[in-house]
Subunit: 352 residues, 2 copies
């Protein structure tokens, strides 16, 4: 047995499938005052929300966003269009309220917490920044394992604890970490076994030569870790602190029947790991958007996921998930608030 | 000269193009703390909002929704899955707050007004229903002109007046009218000259035989009105009261530099008419979604429009536009509220 399977226990996660409740929900949705099916994807979303909440009248959604920040040793290989310093500088920007995720969270009145999962910077202590720093960045996965088994487990547990303490029933997970599209590409290739070229993109804006270099670094890393096969080993060798914390957060959320609003390429790579550990976790996930980061579409296809938005976003920070939040709320709201044909005394469809 | 060109005056509409302001806006957008272009479609939307509002710091958007209801004489041809009575019954549902548009408008704190443009029903007077009834429904366009020139002009002016009196700077236009996908298909085919089969769909849920019948009715109608060629004649012969009011509303909105959030198939058919009268009106339009109603995609392609949402919606009522409203607000908010790299002291991209 490898060290990686030693201590971490995946929490118990139930399937949301419940045929009697599903039939009740579907009947409710079909009798709302609208042509059957005319709310499209919002109808399947309403069904999912009802099943996750185990209710035909789910309570108002209570969202909360967690943005995990960490640095990556693979930045020694020059894999990003931006310098590593941007990670901590953007954390300061989050704390000052000036980033996109701040703007969108304010707009939607969604609480936002920033977590230092392992940024290569010493922050002055302040209440709005949760210090869960595992180390001053991960190791360079092109040369060695990104995390030790212990670090990986610490990160998983930190993510779980954050969610366990949250009163939210909808979680938006986001991330900040210069270099982390490289890490997500590594996890994607390892887990999906898709051609590496399909898994690698421009990240924050690499030119084609930079993408080619990034792909070469990844090919080296994947060869180095070719023998790794257990989910937690894959995460430790090829992941990062923010990704491991999100894996823990997802597992905990699903174990507590909370909805998870999945953002873009990095967050979805964390889900690839989480569902290796517990396939049912995906039943709790709503896919907010298809990112413009090359590879995300293939990742979503691998998961059989249908995203709500396709707006050419590629910012991270949970920004795409935050933008999709009103659609999730709209799905819950029509289920609970719309009149039925009978209640509104509206005539039904003609016999065809 | 035909009677149709006699009295109606299209209001003056300026182009939003202003190269100096556009350059300023683009520079602002590019210097926000995010990789350039990473907010995708929201970036072009922010640019459009700035140009429409003629400001790099547009004021908070103030939306208002108008739902126009009317009946259609073409229902004598049995072109819908639902009976005509559903039009007035749904108006009652709107007034009682039980329809999808009510739920979504409440969620987004958007004022909502219901207008009787020509429903075949005598409503009890009440403050929430604006009585702009032109007639008890239009005539059957498969046999004669749907409206007289005078009725059409009255409807256009009523739509213009509603917008002229509104303090809103973003208009959501919606409609309710059993039979009105048939009318929209007629306008679409006449104006785009696309094959009729591409313009006809299932509406509220016709079976394939019903769609074939609808197409045959439309072929007859289009043959009957083949000689009609002026925009206002096309609208009068093949349109409906709610559509004509929306045409007027769009023209007035653009003349006052208000944004117009375009909903689905019916609302877009009104835009097809409005832009024949004043091509610049489209510069003020944001395309909320691509409807599942067959034909809407082709309509959007004809306009070169890129919709924000593609969720398989086909409900009308302005519901798709209302669902897209937070995205419009997010675009304005990031433009005004996000920090720049310089202000947040975040390092820029590395030289590539």
């Amino acid at each position: 047995m490898s060290a990686y399977s030693a201590t971490f226990r995946v929490p118990a996660i139930s399937s949301i499938v419940q045929p009697a409740l599903q039939a009740q929900l579907q009947a409710l949705i079909d009798h709302k005052t609208k042509p059957p099916g005319s709310l499209g994807q919002l109808e399947s979303l309403a069904l999912q929300i009802g099943l996750v909440c185990q209710s035909t009248q789910p309570a108002a959604l209570q969202p909360s966003a967690f943005i995990f920040a960490a640095d990556h040793g693979v930045m020694a290989e020059n894999v990003s269009a931006f310098p590593q310093s941007v990670t901590w500088q953007m954390v300061e920007n989050f704390l000052a309220g000036g980033a996109a995720i701040n703007v969108f969270a304010r707009q939607h009145a969604c609480p936002l917490q920033i977590i230092d999962a392992g940024v290569n910077h010493v922050f002055a202590a302040r209440s709005a920044l949760l210090d869960r720093k595992i180390a001053m960045g991960s190791k360079n996965l092109a040369c060695e394992a990104a995390m030790s088994a212990l670090e990986c487990e610490q990160a998983l547990l930190a993510g779980m604890a954050l969610v366990a303490e949250s009163p939210a029933n909808v979680l938006i997970l986001g991330e900040m970490g210069i270099g982390n599209t490289t890490v997500a590409s590594a996890l994607m290739q390892k887990i999906t076994d898709l051609p590496l070229a399909l898994c690698v993109g421009a990240g924050t804006g690499l030119a084609p030569a930079g993408v080619a270099h990034k792909q070469a670094v990844l090919a080296r890393a994947l060869a180095l870790h070719a023998q790794v096969s257990e989910p937690l080993e894959i995460l430790a060798h090829l992941g990062g602190f923010e990704i491991a914390m999100m894996v823990g957060a997802m597992l905990q959320a699903a174990s507590m029947r909370k909805l998870i609003l999945i953002d873009g390429f990095i967050v979805t790579s964390a889900l690839l790991v989480a569902r290796l550990l517990a396939p049912q976790v995906q039943e709790y996930c709503v896919f907010a958007h298809c990112s413009d980061e090359s590879g995300h579409r293939a990742m979503l296809d691998f998961l059989g996921a249908q995203p709500l938005l396709t707006l050419g976003l590629r910012l991270g920070e949970g920004s795409g998930a935050m933008l999709a939040l009103p659609l999730l709320q709209a799905a819950r709201n029509f289920l609970v608030e719309m009149a039925s044909f009978a209640a509104a005394e509206v005539d039904g469809a003609l016999a065809s």
